[in-house]
């Protein structure tokens, strides 16, 4: 390795570190801002004092520090690994051009790992989740940043999950699910509905007396036991065989064959 090689390598390493660190800091700064904003929305309803403090924090000029980086975050973690690799190569340039004998099957396994793992993950985990759980992002953000949700119902029984605002849920009894996600219920009516009908008539508690269909299955189970056609079939078949045997005996006897 020549001296030019080493200088070039060090330059590339420094450049890579600078670019990646800058990117990581930008990412972190952006994410922290989003976090603070979302937390502010969540805290507004819980504690006005805390909300004030967060508002103040928001107004402060944001200077991200490297020590605050979350290395368990996938992006930051990946960048860290890349930095370590580049550093190793930069510190030990004599190993840069060493060739290692690798069997073909190991290369195939490595290539499969690089291409197949993400494809399988995306096809069988990520895509179905995105397709079948459109509420996913909202639920994750609500839990992560601590803001409540509202199940917004219409008069036809359809609803959507939406983000709650502070005024909405003041003085409401707590309504929460596991891991502290608060979901409140709201009814929005486009056409009027009558109280008496919905509270006392269109209610499922009338089910037991009004809906005969609900007892259909019980009656079916009981009726099935009465179904004795198999027994009748056995009796008729055996009696038929009995007659055939006697008839055959009689006819053979009469014909003189036996």
């Amino acid at each position: 390795m020549t001296i030019i090689d080493i200088i070039l390598l060090v330059l590339i390493a420094i450049l890579t570190i600078v670019i990646i660190t800058k990117k990581a800091l930008n990412y972190y700064k952006k994410r922290k801002l989003v976090n603070i904003k979302a937390r502010a929305d969540g805290e507004l309803i819980k504690s006005p004092i805390k909300y004030e403090a967060i508002q103040k924090e928001l107004k402060k000029p944001k200077v991200s520090k490297l020590k605050n980086l979350d290395f368990t975050d996938p992006t930051t973690g990946s960048i860290l690994i890349a930095i370590v690799l580049v550093l190793i190569l930069a510190l030990f340039p004599e190993y840069w051009h060493i060739n290692v004998a690798v069997p073909i099957y190991m290369i195939i396994v490595a290539l499969l790992a690089i291409f197949l793992i993400p494809i399988i993950f995306v096809k069988y985990y990520y895509m179905p989740l995105m397709k079948f759980v459109p509420e996913l992002k909202l639920f994750i953000h609500a839990r992560k940043y601590g803001f409540p949700l509202t199940q917004d119902w219409d008069e036809n029984g359809f609803f959507t999950f939406v983000k709650s605002t502070a005024e909405d849920i003041t003085n409401l009894p707590k309504s929460y699910t596991i891991r502290g996600l608060e979901i409140y219920q709201k009814l929005t009516l486009k056409s009027p509905r009558k109280v008496y009908k919905e509270a006392f008539q269109n209610i499922s508690t009338n089910f037991a007396v009004t809906d005969i269909q609900s007892f259909r299955q019980i009656i079916e189970i009981l009726n099935k036991q009465k179904d004795t056609y198999l027994l009748k079939l056995i009796i008729i078949a055996s009696f038929g065989l009995f007659l055939v045997l006697i008839g055959l005996g009689v006819s053979l006897k009469l014909s003189g064959k036996v």
């Binding site: 690798v102 639920f139 509270a199 499922s204």
Partner: protein, 321 residues
């Protein structure tokens, strides 16, 4: 013979580093993503499973306001009640989709989520819960004299048939001395008492013991006053019922746990489980009887065939000898 797969290829070490780095990054990202979903959206698997297989979800409400999402699974298609684990003491929940008028409870993107109480076999819709809330609010705001009634009793009396309303109001007044809101004025009380005393004196005779007359008057008075209060209460409820018929539901925030708490139904999910167990027992008994009949029939059939074969054999052998 040389195995091609084991043939070595010379690769620079930095390429191996990069490949390893990429694999680590991919695995790290996948692990973090799964972890994120597990921590921040544990419902995701239930929602995904339900949408994929077209099954509904039960949002089960507890009285504290806590709720959980669970799959509304059934043993087989067409069953009217939900799947019941052997060790479950929660009781049976009816599938609302087999009702003639299926209540709609669905997200815009087609996932059905029905609301059940922790101990109720039936579900409620948002309209039911909001209308119950409207009724309670209306009574609490406009009829302060009914403050002694619990929300559940308000709902119960608001849906009572007019034929039984007066009798039930009578029972209510006799149970609850707290119906003080319907207290009569002292003049009216005095007038009622005097009128009753006159009647009782006439009935018992002038020479009757004055203590007995006072005792009987007081007794009659209590009954009379309860009757008057019950009539007043019934009048109020009739008025409320008439108002509710034409009243619209208010768009509002409401709570399903309150609605399940106030719901007027004495049938619990565990009761339905008991009925089911009784029916299962009856069916089992019938099946035992069926099995006995089946064995008898088979026995009779075998006997017929043996006799027939015996006669046939005797005839054939007799002829041959």
């Amino acid at each position: 013979m040389v195995n091609i797969l084991e043939l070595p290829i010379l690769i620079p070490i930095w390429i191996i580093f990069i490949v390893l780095g990429i694999i680590i990054i991919i695995l790290h990202w996948i692990w973090r993503y799964r972890d994120n979903i597990k921590n921040y959206c544990p419902e995701a698997s239930i929602f995904k499973h339900a949408r994929q297989r077209g099954i509904a979800i039960m949002q089960k409400w507890f009285m504290t306001g806590f709720f959980v999402f669970e799959r509304l699974e059934k043993d087989k298609k067409g069953d009217m009640y939900t799947k019941l684990p052997d060790d479950s003491h929660e009781g049976i929940r009816f599938d609302p989709r087999i009702q003639s008028k299926t209540p709609k409870c669905s997200t815009i993107k087609g996932l059905e989520i029905y609301q059940y109480g922790s101990n109720t076999p039936y579900n409620l819709t948002a309209l039911n819960a909001a209308s119950m809330n409207t009724v309670i609010e209306h009574v609490r705001t406009n009829y302060p004299e009914l403050h002694f009634l619990t929300p559940q009793m308000i709902l119960e009396f608001c849906q009572k048939n007019k034929n039984v309303l007066i009798q039930d109001c009578m029972n209510l007044v006799s149970q609850y001395d707290t119906a003080n809101s319907f207290n009569l004025s002292s003049e009216k009380v005095k007038a009622i008492k005097e009128s009753l005393k006159e009647d009782i004196t006439q009935r018992l005779g002038e020479e009757a013991d004055p203590h007995l007359i006072d005792y009987e008057t007081e007794k009659e008075y209590i009954i009379q006053i309860q009757k008057t209060k019950a009539e007043l209460l019934a009048q109020v409820f009739t008025k409320i019922q008439n108002e509710l018929v034409s009243m619209d539901i208010k768009p509002q925030f409401f709570s399903f746990s309150d609605a399940f708490q106030n719901m007027v139904s004495c049938i619990l999910a565990t009761d339905m489980q008991t009925y089911k167990q009784m029916l299962d027992k009856l069916t089992e008994l019938k099946r035992e009887r069926f099995n006995m009949n089946f064995l008898m029939t088979i026995g009779f059939a075998v006997m017929l065939i043996i006799i027939g074969s015996g006669i046939f054999y005797t005839m054939v052998q007799g002829g041959g000898s």
